[in-house]
């Protein structure tokens, strides 16, 4: 189990209703179902992944989070999860708004473009960074709206989105992100994990 998924699971309360947006092959859904006894649904754009999820008996609909979240009523889930997908949307802001409309809270994780290795790659090589979390080249990456932990932190503050919890993940270690250590975490963390609500 990925460390990220364990952290997400820790943020989620038992017996809640959850929608995993971009649920992939359903690994996180299965984990949360057995670990937290949650009522979990998924939405996923890749047919192959949807077929895998359905084969596992998971309740997943094929769809595009940018267009298809509209069918879910306001506040119909306790948590919406968006794991490392925000940067792939055409309109990340619209998606965040939808997450917070459909869910009472949302958990958003982002690969941190402010991570020092990313910065160093661009500085020394002069080409678009390729790292463990960002394995694609500039021309074939699905990540069209990369942001850093600091970017997302500021984004939420500017829009009066409450950051209930902000976590930085580096080398399997988790730490809290605060106003006071924002620049350090923005440099040292590979992944940011945020629990947000409106």
């Amino acid at each position: 189990m990925k460390q990220e998924f364990k952290i997400i699971a820790n943020l989620i309360e038992k017996n809640t209703r959850i929608l995993d947006v971009g649920c992939g092959d359903g690994t996180l859904m299965e984990f949360l179902k057995s670990d937290k006894k949650v009522d979990i649904r998924g939405i996923e754009i890749s047919k192959n992944n949807v077929q895998k999820c359905i084969g596992k008996g998971l309740t997943v609909i094929e769809g595009d989070a940018e267009k298809d979240l509209i069918q879910f009523p306001n506040q119909s889930f306790d948590f919406l999860i968006l794991s490392q997908t925000l940067q792939a949307f055409l309109n990340p802001e619209t998606v965040i708004n939808e997450l917070l409309r459909v869910g009472k809270k949302a958990i958003v994780t982002i690969p941190n473009f402010g991570y020092w290795k990313v910065r160093l790659h661009l500085l020394t090589k002069g080409t678009m960074p390729i790292t463990k979390n960002l394995p694609d080249e500039w021309h074939n990456t699905p990540n069209i709206h990369m942001c850093s932990i600091k970017d997302f932190f500021n984004f939420c503050n500017n829009r009066k989105i409450r950051l209930d919890k902000s976590l930085a993940l580096h080398n399997e270690k988790t730490s809290l992100i605060k106003n006071s250590n924002l620049d350090i975490k923005n440099l040292s963390a590979e992944l940011g994990i945020f629990l947000i609500e409106k």
């Binding site: 209703r17 047919k47 077929q51 997943v60 609909i61």
Partner: protein, 372 residues
């Protein structure tokens, strides 16, 4: 038809009020079963057939001597595994494979009913088949499943009997027949009724058969079951057993010959009046209207788990219409999964060997059964 004795029937003595207002009783429902009902009686799957289907889903159809219509999906170790599940399929009322339909004899006149048979609806079909649950003493089905008109029956069944199935799988269908669907059905009906041998539906009493009309209806419908790409790939402009065009109206092209063949074999197994009645039932199907314009209302009482399946190349019941069902279910927080399967085989994909579809169906049914 031969081997008519191979048809199993129940006679429903409980009166059934049809949507048209007429009440029917003591009517037959023909059915077939596969597999064994277990002691807990929790392994039954009710399959609903499509327009020209029948109760013989798997194995060899004793009447036509051909494979059952859903042999790719149903049978031992198949997606719907008859080693594990007790599969029931009934012939819909209005049809011609043993259930109450226009080819039945009216005992009061000793004549074939023909067009004096009442107009029936999808709702009527489902209510009639519900009697099979009592007959088999099944309190709750494990699964209801069907494609096309079978999918419409799945939706109607759950809205009529919200607690009678654990899972429901409507495939390649719609909650409301579209203008295009109605238009194609009307084309088929007009073709049958334009045949001089139809004689206002009275052909059987006069020893006639409107074969030309019925076969043209089938040819037109058959085109709607396939995709443009599928047709192009299979037939293209290939010629039928000739080296060049013959400058006449024979079947020069393979596609013409194929359609003619499809039409000609269809008339041997299907009743023209049944075709009129069943297409009418499909056209009248509008679950949205039944629930005052809000499809979600059809499902508010159910806790059934749904899987909606559509196919990329199905233009008769396109993904968008299947998605309407998903949207209505999500709007009320129902448990619904949805997948669109990639296939170039058009609407017929659900009947054919489409491995991704069959694998998904199999895994979903088996995991849902385990999670009892």
């Amino acid at each position: 038809m031969n081997n008519i004795n191979d048809i199993k029937r129940i006679i429903v003595d409980k009166p059934l009020k049809l949507d048209c207002g007429k009440i029917i009783n003591n009517f037959p429902i023909a059915y077939e079963t596969y597999g064994v009902l277990n002691k807990k009686k929790d392994n039954s799957i009710l399959i609903f057939h499509a327009l020209t289907g029948d109760q013989f889903v798997s194995g060899i159809n004793p009447i036509t001597k051909k494979d059952g219509w859903w042999s790719y999906a149903v049978g031992p170790n198949k997606a719907i595994d008859t080693n594990k599940y007790f599969v029931i399929c009934a012939n819909v009322i209005g049809s011609c494979m043993g259930s109450y339909g226009p080819s039945n004899v009216d005992p009061s006149t000793n004549k074939i009913l023909g067009t004096s048979f009442p107009v029936i609806t999808i709702n009527d079909m489902v209510n009639a088949q519900y009697n099979l649950l009592n007959f088999f003493k099944i309190d709750k089905l494990f699964c209801v499943v069907g494609g096309s008109m079978g999918g419409m029956q799945v939706l109607q069944f759950i809205s009529n009997f919200p607690n009678k199935a654990k899972i429901a799988i409507p495939i390649a269908c719609t909650a409301s027949h579209s203008a295009q669907n109605i238009a194609f059905n009307e084309l088929g009906r007009q073709s049958i009724m334009a045949d001089a041998n139809w004689v206002n539906g009275n052909y059987s009493n006069e020893n006639l058969s409107p074969n030309k009309g019925l076969s043209v209806a089938r040819m037109a419908a058959h085109i709607t079951y396939l995709s443009k790409n599928g047709l192009q790939e299979k037939f293209g402009r290939k010629l039928q057993e000739r080296d060049d065009l013959k400058f006449g109206f024979d079947a020069d092209f393979q596609i013409e010959s194929y359609l003619r063949y499809q039409g000609s074999v269809f008339v041997d197994r299907f009743d023209a009046n049944s075709y009129l009645y069943i297409t009418r039932a499909m056209d009248y199907f509008d679950l949205v209207k039944q629930y005052d314009g809000n499809l979600s209302k059809a499902f508010v009482k159910t806790r059934t788990k749904f899987l909606v399946i559509s196919f990329t190349s199905d233009w008769l019941y396109p993904t968008s219409e299947n998605k309407e069902i998903v949207i209505a279910l999500n709007a009320i927080g129902a448990n619904v999964g949805f997948v669109e399967i990639e296939s170039d085989k058009g609407h017929d994909s659900f009947l054919l060997n489409v491995p991704k579809f069959l694998d998904t169906l199999k895994d979903y049914i088996n995991t849902s059964y385990l999670k009892n």
